[in-house]
Symmetry: C2
Subunit: 323 residues, 2 copies
């Protein structure tokens, strides 16, 4: 263990911490100016950049008693890269703000940083800069820049008659959350899914090439996120429950805690799957699975615009914020 | 007063708050996809982007009893744009993360957002996206993308023999901080300078055109920030005190609190002036003023590398973090 891994942020100081982090993040040839200056300089392939930012707060977005520093770092980066995926792009450069109490262990921060870098590198992205500050709670602020597909896929292009399809796992992280919230640590597969999502990073650019009309990543829950698409596109979206296979670990969790396991699939967040709409003529290859249909809106704009098997869903459609 | 300005964030909820913020930030033709989708899409003129991020925490970077929401928003954006200025670039698009307790007034957040937008618009930049989250303390995470000069000015290019020059006010915000920290509200000019900096936004690109060899913005204090340049460039920087005029309000504060007012100029942060080095042959136009000289390093790398009138400075050179 390197001597700088011992001790707290207060012992190390801001500039000492930044030096340690620079050595974690390193440099790549794609980055024109990397960490350590007033700003970083990155190349942007075709003169357009996709940009998204996430703010994650301890106790609300992650818990240190549920997840390791590496889990938290990998998930934070995955969630942010997922936003670029949902536009049909691919993340290429990230900047990270870290707020932390001075008593936090340096080793925890370095494990967090290394896992962030590793998750980014898994798709060829790089952490190019950041900021650190003292804070009472641990705060992670991540911004990602990405390459732009020829035609960006927004939330607002869904058309009546389109197919609704998903790519990636649904409900696993939600089932993991349900287990962890009850003080259990198994089934391990869903707990791991909550700790480390695996977004379908290739499916976003693939959907753009397949002429997806609208797309979103499933962070709050499938129904809640499809509702954002429906409202932005001024359409109604109907989801068919017979289109979903409820994976075995979800059935086990449902049976153990007395919950319909389909609710994890429909309303569980944090798996960072993609949901998209495609013209009816498009034949969808794997990993895309058709799960519903876009209909003409029949209600006031702004109303709930997602139905399940033709009926309003009886329950919360996903996570509520500021509640 | 619009009805949505009353009440708290908890009353309004995340999505209600986002809707209000979108209407503050609006849309411009330069932004290909603006707020409200998974990510924003911006144009990047020449295929390179400068990017920087700042994390600001209530009680550490701002105080609601010292500054209005509008002051805090304008200063946060100014500080972030200043980082791009210090590379010789110009900010063009920003994303903002806001963490806040549910009891915070919506009106406070909307005033903050409007002032952010106004400060950005003052140089033609735009807020293109963001994220909001519940948090115990107010947290602002700002990331800016900017255009790139032909030759980016980093901290590491200073050469022995170069002139050291500054642009913008020095010490005013530091004097304002000293006054506010003692419970006073005057002299008004320095208190206002602490609340709302006015970075010399044109001087950064100007310095790049004048072949500046290194540049930094003065956020922690002139000596502390010049020390970053000296260390990154492996040189010694000497500052001449007779090069500075100590403005009248600083003299008044110094006399009132028994401090040498020159210390505000040399070590006060938060004015977001620029300090840069230029080859000796360059004739510097206003607002640049020569205040020192770059010398060959005569000490171990990593040591304090800034002197004042040829001697080490007797005191803190600027703000210390995680202290």
């Amino acid at each position: 263990m390197s001597p700088t891994r011992t001790g707290t942020l207060g012992d190390l100081g801001e500039f000492g911490l930044l030096r340690e982090l620079f050595s974690v993040f390193g440099q790549t040839p794609d980055v024109i100016v990397g960490p350590g200056d007033d700003a970083a300089v990155v190349s942007v392939a075709d003169g357009r950049a996709v940009v998204s930012t996430d703010l994650l707060i301890e106790g609300r977005h992650f818990r240190r008693d549920w997840s390791s520093a590496a889990d938290i770092g990998a998930k934070a980066v995955a969630a942010n890269l997922s936003d670029i995926n949902a536009m049909g792009g691919r993340g290429s450069a990230l900047v990270v703000g870290l707020g932390a109490p001075p008593g936090l262990d340096v080793a925890w921060v370095l494990d967090l940083a290394a896992a962030m870098q590793e998750e980014a590198a898994s798709i060829g992205a790089w952490i190019v800069g950041g900021d650190v500050s003292r804070a009472d709670e641990i705060v992670l602020a991540i911004t990602v820049l990405g390459t732009c597909p020829d035609k960006v896929v927004t939330r607002s292009g869904a058309q009546s008659g389109d197919q609704v399809a998903v790519a990636g796992r649904l409900g696993w992280a939600g089932a993991g959350y349900a287990v962890l919230a009850r003080g259990f640590r198994s089934p391990r597969a869903v707990v791991e899914a909550h700790r480390r999502p695996h977004p379908p990073y290739d499916a976003g650019p693939q959907a753009a090439k397949l002429d997806a009309t609208a797309m979103i990543d499933v962070s709050d829950g499938l129904l809640a996120d499809l509702n954002h698409v429906a409202v932005a596109s001024n359409v109604l979206i109907d989801v068919r429950t017979d289109a979903f296979e409820v994976d075995e670990p979800l059935q086990a969790v449902g049976a153990a805690i007395g919950t319909d396991p389909l609710s994890f699939v429909l309303t569980g967040g944090d798996d960072y799957a993609l949901a998209a709409t495609f013209p009816p003529s498009v034949r969808l290859p794997a990993p895309w699975r058709v799960v519903g249909r876009v209909l003409a809106a029949d209600s006031e704009p702004g109303n709930v615009s997602v139905t399940v098997d033709g009926r309003p869903y009886d329950g919360e459609m996903g996570h509520r914020h500021f509640a």
